[in-house]
């Protein structure tokens, strides 16, 4: 990629542009947690973290680290001024009760109806759900950050999921290394094509038919 960022960082940087002043945002593990690195420090955005932190700050230095103040990936973090703690039921009331403006989660597959699979590898007996199902059904807007295809080139944006479902009809927008795609009632709408790719390239790497309506 051009500016020295990895593919994953490129995706995170693009999502950061769509997080606006005043939003309450939940970032999942993987690409999503990288998003806050690209959000301008001028913007006042409140980060929610599932284990009961509203107003999560940056990673904690060794001196600041407290084993009782961690993010969803169990890494030590800080709290911003105005931040607060809550128990898990109140924390999930924030997600399940539609109080989170935007949640950004990783994805294994997204269907053209906006169904999401992101908690269990295909064919695996076990996986970890954590907060994924609660956040998917409850966020006002759900953005998915993922590579456009699997490592062996298979589309991750599919007609029907064949991975274990996280939630149905929940995804609003998909950000990949190739494109930005909105999930609408009419179908998947291609909004942006990343530099170096054509509309055709994106369609070929996507199973359902895309409606092209570039911004």
């Amino acid at each position: 990629m051009s500016n020295g960022l990895s593919i994953r960082e490129q995706i995170a940087k693009r999502i950061a542009e769509d997080l606006h002043e005043g939003y309450i945002v939940n970032l999942g593990i993987g690409i999503p947690v990288m998003v806050s690195n690209f959000v301008s420090k001028e913007k006042e955005i409140i980060y929610h973290s599932e284990q009961g932190v509203l107003g999560m700050g940056s990673a904690a230095s060794e001196e600041e680290a407290d084993p009782d103040l961690i993010n969803a990936s169990k890494e030590p973090v800080t709290l911003v001024s105005g931040g607060s703690f809550s128990h898990s039921a109140d924390s999930f009331a924030m997600t399940r009760g539609r109080h989170i403006d935007v949640a950004v989660l990783g994805g294994m597959q997204v269907s053209e109806k906006g169904d999401l699979a992101n908690w269990k590898v295909k064919g695996a007996e076990l996986g970890s759900i954590g907060g994924a199902m609660d956040i998917s059904i409850g966020a006002k807007k759900l953005y998915i950050a993922m590579t456009h295809t699997t490592k062996d080139g298979q589309p991750k944006i599919v007609k029907e999921l064949d991975y274990a479902v996280t939630a149905l009809n929940c995804v609003d927008r998909i950000y990949t290394d190739m494109a930005v795609i909105d999930v609408t009632k009419e179908g998947l709408v291609l909004r942006e094509v990343s530099p170096g790719y054509t509309v055709d390239d994106v369609q070929k790497a996507t199973e359902p038919k895309l409606i092209v309506s570039l911004l």
Partner: protein, 272 residues
């Protein structure tokens, strides 16, 4: 010698005609004799006044009554807010065939992982069984030594809140269309499809808090709070492991997170 012959003037509780608890003054008396005069009962009370004191002498004492097959709620998220000393005491106490409710199955060989490693846990109810640090659970699961009920994290929290609040079940859209919904009643409310989830109650709850007083009021440390207040509510006998025990009145009533009514025993950590 205390003699009470007008019980109506006190908010009291008499236990097996042996102990008289005056809730107005938070004192406990031993009943030394009982006399009947007409319709009145006169309790003669011993000199000893025992204040309400939930502070146990040790973690070992606090967990001593836990029986095989008990359901135990374990606070904690990852390594934050885990009642490690109570778990260690339970490991030494020996109870087995336990049902554990906990977000995670313990990191490395510590906490719940130590109980799982020693085949004490027959079944775990959790949201995040698989992570790079929970290899002990994975090994025992593959050996079919432990059962798993996989539950979304918010649903565990809400099932515990329900369990502590007299709500036997509730409907939620979390899990609709997923394997979590298998075998559960489905119902639609205002266009939202939901599944029926049942309350979780524990015979015991192990809670980690920062500070307590002798009434069992608790405050927590940062995100170490997580599931702990909910488990305190949902446990029939809730035991709090705390860093510090302070005098009554030292915890700001506006800031107490778990009122002592939800806590039966308090244990001060031996390590800081």
């Amino acid at each position: 010698m205390n003699i009470i012959n007008n019980l109506n003037s006190f908010t009291i509780l008499i236990i097996h005609d042996k102990l008289l608890i005056n809730h107005d003054t938070e004192t406990v008396f031993l009943v030394s004799s009982i006399m009947y005069e007409g319709n009145s009962i006169i309790y003669e009370l011993g000199d000893i006044e025992i204040m309400i004191n939930k502070v146990a002498n040790s973690a070992e004492e606090a967990v001593s009554n836990i029986k095989d097959g008990s359901t135990i709620l374990f606070g904690g998220f990852g390594g934050a807010g885990v009642p490690y000393e109570l778990i260690k005491a339970l490991l030494n106490q020996g109870a087995k065939d336990l049902i554990a409710v906990s977000n995670n199955p313990g990191l490395h060989h510590t906490g719940l992982a130590a109980l799982i490693e020693n085949d004490r846990i027959a079944k775990i109810m959790c949201s995040f069984p698989i992570s790079k640090d929970s290899y002990v659970f994975l090994k025992k699961f593959k050996e079919r030594k432990i059962d798993l009920e996989l539950i979304p994290q918010g649903t565990i929290a809400e099932r515990l809140r329900a369990g502590g609040s007299g709500i036997e079940a509730f409907y939620t859209p979390t899990g609709v269309g997923t394997e979590v919904a298998e075998g559960k009643e489905i119902k639609e409310f205002d266009g939202v499809t939901c599944i029926l989830e049942k309350a979780i109650k524990g015979d015991f709850a192990f809670v980690k808090a920062k500070r307590a007083d002798r009434w069992g009021n608790l405050v927590y440390n940062k995100s170490g709070r997580n599931f702990n207040p909910l488990m305190a509510m949902a446990g029939r006998i809730s035991i709090a492991e705390v860093d510090e025990i302070v005098d009554l009145g030292q915890l700001d009533p506006e800031c107490i997170v778990t009122p002592g009514i939800f806590v039966q025993h308090v244990v001060k950590r031996s390590e800081s």
